[in-house]
Amino acid sequence: MILALLAAAFAIPREQVLDNAARYASHVWRSSADNQYAECTDGDYASDYPPGEYVGLPYDWGGYVTLDEFDDQIADGYGAGSHSWHGILSCTTGVDCSGFVSMVWETDHYSTSTFDSGPTHGISWSAAKRADAFNDAGSHVVLFTHETDAGWPVFYEAAGGAEKVRLNASSGWSYVDGYEPIRFDDIEDGPVSGTAGAPRDITAFPFSDFRWTAGAASDAIDRYACAPETDESGPEVLYRFEAASSGTLQVVVSDDVGVDVDVHVLTAANGDACIARNDTSLSVEVRPGTVWIAVDTWVGGQEFPGAYVLSASFDGALGDLEDLDPVDTGGDDDPTDTDARDDTGTDADADTTPLDRVREGRRVPAEGEPSGCASVVPPGLGAVGALMAIIGVLGRRRR
């Protein structure tokens, strides 16, 4: 029981892994003349990224960096990306396939050859779930994102041929023919964000998010003032961002077969604050302040929940989001959820979330957290936890 509690306290939710991956694939950065060369090599190096603005981190063989670390290194004139034929270079930046998967799992840097002996275990093909990976030892690894209602898979990967981290929705199962499905040892199914108390925060545009209203944590809004006759009493997912200036918000929602979700723009997390809605796309002027987007399940005799992709752009300035007081929306009350997270999806006892550390800087351990692979004592577990740590039961790093 204690072991289960300890393991759960250290686990990373699948949703957080996928959010981490999306940030790598959608990270906007600018290459300059300083990033075209690698000063630490006399070899034949030229960056794949001529000066300009790009979306998605470059592929960098041997690379394993956080987003802030990447930004700092680009600003410092590191070469943007590299390939195996350049060798592992200390003066280039980006991630390779295994560095990317290690980083989004928030673990130490493993290669495709060492995942097996590291923090993963093999699983069957039928057992593979989102945020698991398909690994070809010695060659390549991809993160399994989800599959459509028709069973077509989508992956995130850092691909050398594509020179970047990308969402791969084209390749299908044959892309991973012969790969081994693996699962990170410290992964868990919940909790799920998207409620009024724990919305999905948008911190950069363009924004894109694959998600599901089936099983969504919020089912609190049934009607919207924009279309009061329309029954939206199915489960919804709530997003928010902070508009620092007025601007045009454009939103498109695309749903899977048998799914009917609609998109709403709100000035507060309730249906009365609706300023625009549509079943697929909309464009609306928004004022400075917190802007909410609700993707809600339409009900017409029956509910039509399921998978969708939400994409959005905003041409105004973004501000910093304020922390929310946890709001009990009734969605995150799974009695089997034994981890130490509160309704906001964060560690109740930590100042920063692991995602904050991925988002905001190098994987700097939280205060008091060891920087190596040492065992640690989870806060609040006192002597029992200390004993466990001492005898090495945990044997893994707290992220």
Partner: protein
């Protein structure tokens, strides 16, 4: 045997994969081989899979083009090869204009088959990444995994691109769903897949993949009747991101990397 195909014509009678409707018209098959000196292939290295041509497209009157990701160029069969910094998808218009999707700079570019850059257009921020480039009439769209199109631009016969003025979505005209083991299109069971596996629509073809203990089989079924086509599985030499295409005339084509070169196979009714 994890996969059985059911022909459209015989929707209630399963046919084991590899068999075809004897009354279906046979397909015309053409195959061209590009040597590895014509298109780039870098062999696998430790912790790095091989890199080769990553995308391709087929156009009108038999024209084809592949993106040589190693040399960062587009190679038009029997025509020009010209530098293109990045490609996340290729497609031809019915008029023979080649479109190149670049997700990393969110730009759509139009080329003539002689390599002339005809136009370029930044595409809207509301287009999600990872789509499949498709041209229908004058509308160029990125097709998401659900089959819905996100308009990138309209294209004229001479390759001029015009970005959309408002966000929009072009819902899929046909959709595939899986119910138990049945893959269903337009209310008809088209194929049966047991265990992990699935399908997506590509023009009027249904590409079906099934898995048996990690080994994948892949086929394409013409939705309007005809012979089921067995497709090669990626990864024997390297794994292209997008190795299947449908031309403006409905013909199916794929690239198949082999030791002697890149095989471009095209089948048409």
């Amino acid at each position: 045997m994890p996969l059985w195909m059911v022909s459209i014509a015989l929707a209630t009678e399963p046919i084991v994969i590899g068999e075809s409707d004897p009354d279906a018209p046979s397909l015309q098959r053409t195959e061209v081989v590009l040597s590895w000196s014509e298109v780039g292939l870098r062999p696998a290295a430790p912790e790095s899979p091989a890199i080769g041509p990553d995308h391709f497209a087929v156009g009108p009157r038999g024209v084809s083009a592949v993106y040589d990701s190693l040399h960062k160029r587009v190679v038009v069969l029997g025509g020009a090869s010209f530098p293109v910094a990045a490609s996340d998808g290729l497609a031809f218009t019915a008029a023979g204009v080649l479109l190149v999707l670049d997700d990393r700079s969110r730009t759509l570019r139009a080329y003539g088959t002689n390599g002339a850059l005809l136009d370029s257009s930044a595409y809207p921020g509301v287009v999600p990444p990872g789509g499949w480039l498709r041209v229908e009439g004058a509308v160029v769209a990125s097709v998401d995994v659900f089959g819905n199109g996100h308009p990138l631009a309209t294209v004229s016969a001479n390759g001029a691109l015009t970005a959309p003025t408002a966000p929009g979505l072009v819902p899929a005209a046909r959709r595939v769903t899986r119910s138990g083991s049945a893959l269903v299109v337009d209310g008809r069971t088209v194929a049966l897949v047991e265990g992990r596996g699935g399908a997506r629509l590509l023009g009027d073809w249904l590409v079906v993949e099934a898995m048996d203990d990690g080994a994948v089989t892949r086929s394409a079924i013409p939705l309007d009747g005809g012979e089921t086509v067995s497709l090669p599985v990626r990864g024997r030499l390297y794994a292209p991101a997008q190795d299947i295409a449908v031309g403006p005339e409905g013909d199916l084509a794929w690239i198949d990397p082999r030791a002697d070169g890149l095989h471009l196979v095209r089948v048409a009714p």
